[in-house]
């Protein structure tokens, strides 16, 4: 009996060891409290009893905000991701910010002057601005940051070339360009590859994988970045807001909560369930989930103009290096059908032949739009026959990982097959797709969403690195449109460029898409631009 019980004791001990091993592991792994669930429910109880004077309702001090994409880096100069901008734009500021009409408005700059020939810019910084580390913002910080940004952001590199930002005195930065650039302020305001101003020391110590510290001048400062889990930012007490009415990312900004937890929730169903359960007060809504929120009085449903969809040709592929094939596909494309395939409802798209949104009055152009949404299979067949199409397989490069790439490719595939074109869907994970797309031998057509910039010079697909748009006339017209100085000159050059984009057919514009966002009524003041939410000026009321 004794012998037996000792063996059971050993068994029990092994089990207990296993368990304690687990719990000590758990403890080691989570020395930060609430490893992935940063106080969804506990937060409310910790709130101080702040009452909003206007509404008489109790304000919460914490906001938990969902992110639907993982963030590879928080370095504002490096990444092009939308999720990255959602966080970064609250922590960092640039010299200028966009208002809701996509016009640059001074932010860290107080004023600026530009020479008559459009080549020399002088930026005067606001004085007395401090970084999150307490250091005062000086011109040398701005110059160091912008010179680094210029090297890392492809659109800035192509715009500014070798020209450098220089600190003239403590509060003045100058930029002397070789040729006039009417997009200078727009480049400085754009939200992706954001031209953030950081302390000079941070910029100088940055490695290839980004800056080591995230120090800006924005209304929120970074407290903790728990990779793949959450990013915690808190109110920056010494924040000094630009003047003027809040509009887009411009004007007055104020942190109205003490803490924001940007919580990574990649799974659509989990993110939405968390919203329904009250963990989040803001969420994107897919069409199938729409009935669950559309009749709820406590939830506001907003339609957010998020991306424009484009078909990109590989201009180095055997077929599509020949413009006749590109014309055939452009003649075939039924944009409305593809947009419906992407969004599932006519409520979430609009036809738009321009590379810019119509909200951007300065650069919107309908020139060449007769080539848009032709939906003419007979003409496509004729063009293909003329080009000598002989049953070659057209490879559509796509991914199922994120967004609507795959649905759009399926719709185009059906249209191509219907006129007898052989196709092949090459589906990869996102990382592989990025690598394949850079390989001129790996694909023929790619369909994807783009964030619409504010000037044509920021369009990714007019750039040689995207689908190999290496065309001298395109580059020349782009340069001309960027160098134009007066509004009339800009309009003329822009129409010429837009018309040529439809003639060259490096890409075929499909249309603009929207996303539904659900906002619970206790969250007030969220505005979005480019589909990216601005959380300064956002109030959170406690749920009753």
């Amino acid at each position: 009996m004794n012998h037996h019980s000792s063996k059971w004791t050993i068994a029990f001990l092994i089990f207990v060891l296993l368990l304690t091993g687990c719990s000590s592991n758990a403890a080691n792994g989570t020395n930060n409290s609430n490893i992935s669930s940063p106080g969804p429910t506990d937060a409310a109880s910790a709130d101080a009893n702040v009452v909003d004077a206007n509404e008489g309702k109790e304000l919460a001090t914490e906001l938990k905000f969902p992110l639907d994409q993982s963030i590879p880096t928080l370095d504002p100069h490096l990444s092009l991701g939308g999720s990255n901008s959602t966080v970064v734009l609250n922590v960092f500021e640039g010299l200028f910010s966009f208002n809701s009409s996509y016009e640059p408005v001074p932010s860290l700059a107080e004023s600026y002057e530009v020479s008559e020939d459009g080549k020399n810019y002088v930026f005067h910084l606001r004085q007395g601005i401090t970084f999150h580390n307490g250091k005062e913002l000086k011109a040398e910080d701005a110059a160091a940051s912008l010179n680094r940004w210029k090297e890392l952001a492809p659109r800035a590199k192509s715009s500014f070339g070798e020209s450098e930002f220089e600190a003239q005195d403590d509060y003045t930065v100058v930029l002397n360009l070789n040729e006039p650039k009417n997009d200078t302020l727009a480049q400085l305001s754009h939200v992706l590859n954001f031209a953030a101003i950081m302390p000079k020391e941070v910029v100088e110590s940055a490695g290839p994988d980004g800056v080591k510290e995230y120090i800006g001048t924005g209304p929120f400062k970074l407290v903790e970045w728990k990779a793949d889990q959450y990013i915690h930012v808190s109110k920056f007490e010494n924040y000094q807001s630009p003047d003027g009415e809040s509009d887009g990312f411009a004007g007055k900004r104020e942190a109205l909560v003490n803490d924001i937890y940007f919580t990574l929730a990649l799974d659509n169903a989990t993110r939405f369930s968390s919203f329904l359960a009250g963990d989040f007060d803001y969420v994107d809504v897919s069409i199938d989930n729409l009935p669950l929120v559309e009749n709820d009085d406590s939830i506001e449903l907003v339609k957010d103009l998020s991306t424009d969809f484009n078909l990109i040709f590989n201009k180095k592929s055997p077929l599509f290096s020949d413009i006749a094939y590109r014309q055939a596909v452009a003649a075939l494309v039924n944009a409305e059908e593809i947009l419906l395939g992407i969004t599932s409802t006519p409520d979430l798209y609009r036809l738009n032949p321009s590379y810019m949104y119509e909200e951007n009055a300065k650069w919107y152009s309908e020139a060449g739009s007769e080539a848009y949404n032709q939906s003419n299979p007979e003409e496509a067949k004729r063009l293909l026959a003329e080009a000598g199409y002989n049953g070659e397989v057209v490879r559509l490069l796509t991914t199922k990982d994120t967004g609507s790439f795959y649905n759009a490719s399926l719709m185009l595939q059906a249209q191509l097959e219907a006129i007898g074109v052989k196709t092949q869907l090459d589906i990869y994970d996102y990382a592989t797709m990025l690598t394949k797309r850079a390989d001129a031998t790996a694909w023929d057509i790619y369909l994807g969403p783009f964030i619409v910039p504010s000037t044509p010079s920021q369009l990714l697909y007019l750039n040689p690195s995207y689908g190999f748009a290496e065309d001298a006339k395109l580059a020349e017209l782009l340069k001309k449109a960027t160098a134009a100085l007066t509004d009339e000159e800009i309009k003329e050059a822009n129409d010429e460029l837009q018309a040529y984009v439809w003639e060259y057919l490096g890409n075929v514009k499909i249309g603009d898409t929207y996303r539904y966002k659900a906002i619970r009524s206790n969250l007030q003041g969220v505005t979005t631009l480019y589909g990216i939410p601005n959380l300064s000026n956002t109030k959170v009321y406690k749920k009753s």
């Binding site: 990574l264 968390s274 990025l434």
Partner: protein
């Protein structure tokens, strides 16, 4: 026995070495590039190549492997490109949630499977047996992610008893820790429970036909004592084997459940690392999982001695 354990641990070295070579080769054969993922859509080729060079990604495979293995032999498994920490630190941080989830899911499975299996064996062909068949078929048929969505909808969204997702460590309080783990553990347990219950039943039925059981009954030993002392005890070895295998699978990271419930465990880390080609982390996790498997199997072998005195480990 100490020599046996030592031998088994030494046998781990070639296993891990071969694993490391295979994983390294697979990683470098699949396309995709951490520099491209970091720089995002639309980055220009020159910048990407510059970052690749600085990250050491442009070296040929062999020097990269030699670099890595010489580090690994000194306990340095490299640095993550994206997490800003060493691979060991990242694994250490993510192992806790996975262990907790695996232990809780296993406990839940055992607590349902063993009584059900015993009851089914005792009353072969009876109601309990039929219930077990139904339960195990259902358990094996329902995908964990589907069950998890139903559970979330009911217990988190409608009833608001439990959180939808997330993880809390033990320091945040036992209840907070448990309430974040209940739904994922319940989602994981039916499959394992079903397998274990069927094994308990069949293994016990086999033993019940042995002559020493008949002898025990003929001697007038109580039925309770026959079942628990003579039958269950002798049926334990296959049950331990199955349970060990199930536990190993759970430790390997229940990637889908961890993703659905947003639990920062090894499975989720592996999925993220593969998506962004964080080579060092993928390599580290795969080796860690291989090590866990071997360790769990070793513990299972040691438990055989406890369960059956006739087993000798040489």
């Amino acid at each position: 026995m100490a020599i046996y354990v030592l031998k088994r641990l030494l046998a781990l070295v070639p296993t891990l070495f071969i694993m490391s070579v295979i994983v390294f080769i697979i990683i470098y054969l699949i396309p995709g590039d951490p520099a491209r993922v970091m720089l995002g859509d639309g980055a220009d080729e020159a910048t990407i190549q510059q970052v690749r060079e600085q990250m050491g990604l442009n070296q040929p495979v062999l020097p990269q492997y030699i670099n890595w293995i010489s580090g690994a032999l000194q306990g340095n498994f490299g640095e993550s490109y994206f997490l800003g920490k060493s691979v060991m630190a990242a694994i250490g941080e993510h192992a806790g949630p996975t262990f907790s989830l695996a232990v809780l899911a296993l406990l839940l499975s055992l607590c349902t499977a063993i009584p059900l299996g015993i009851a089914a064996a005792k009353h072969q062909g009876g109601l309990a047996d039929k219930l077990l068949t139904a339960f195990s078929l259902l358990g094996m048929a329902i995908p964990g992610f589907l069950l998890s969505l139903f559970l979330v909808l009911l217990f988190a969204v409608k009833l608001k008893w439990l959180p939808v997702s997330g993880y809390a460590s033990l320091q945040d309080g036992v209840w907070s820790y448990l309430k974040h783990l209940i739904l994922p553990a319940v989602s994981l347990s039916p499959l394992m429970g079903a397998i274990i219950a069927r094994m308990v039943r069949s293994s016990m039925l086999e033993v019940m036909n042995q002559s020493y059981v008949k002898t025990a009954r003929a001697k007038g030993v109580s039925e309770h004592r026959v079942i628990y002392k003579h039958v269950l005890r002798n049926a334990l070895i296959p049950i331990i084997t199955v349970t060990g295998g199930a536990f190993g699978t759970l430790l390997a990271g229940a990637a889908v459940i961890e993703t659905v419930f947003n639990i920062p465990g090894l499975g989720q880390l592996l999925v993220h690392s593969v998506a962004r080609r964080d080579y060092a982390v993928i390599q580290g996790i795969v080796l860690f999982i291989a090590f866990l498997y071997v360790a769990v199997n070793l513990i299972v072998d040691l438990l055989y001695v406890v369960a059956d005195p006739r087993v000798r480990l040489e």
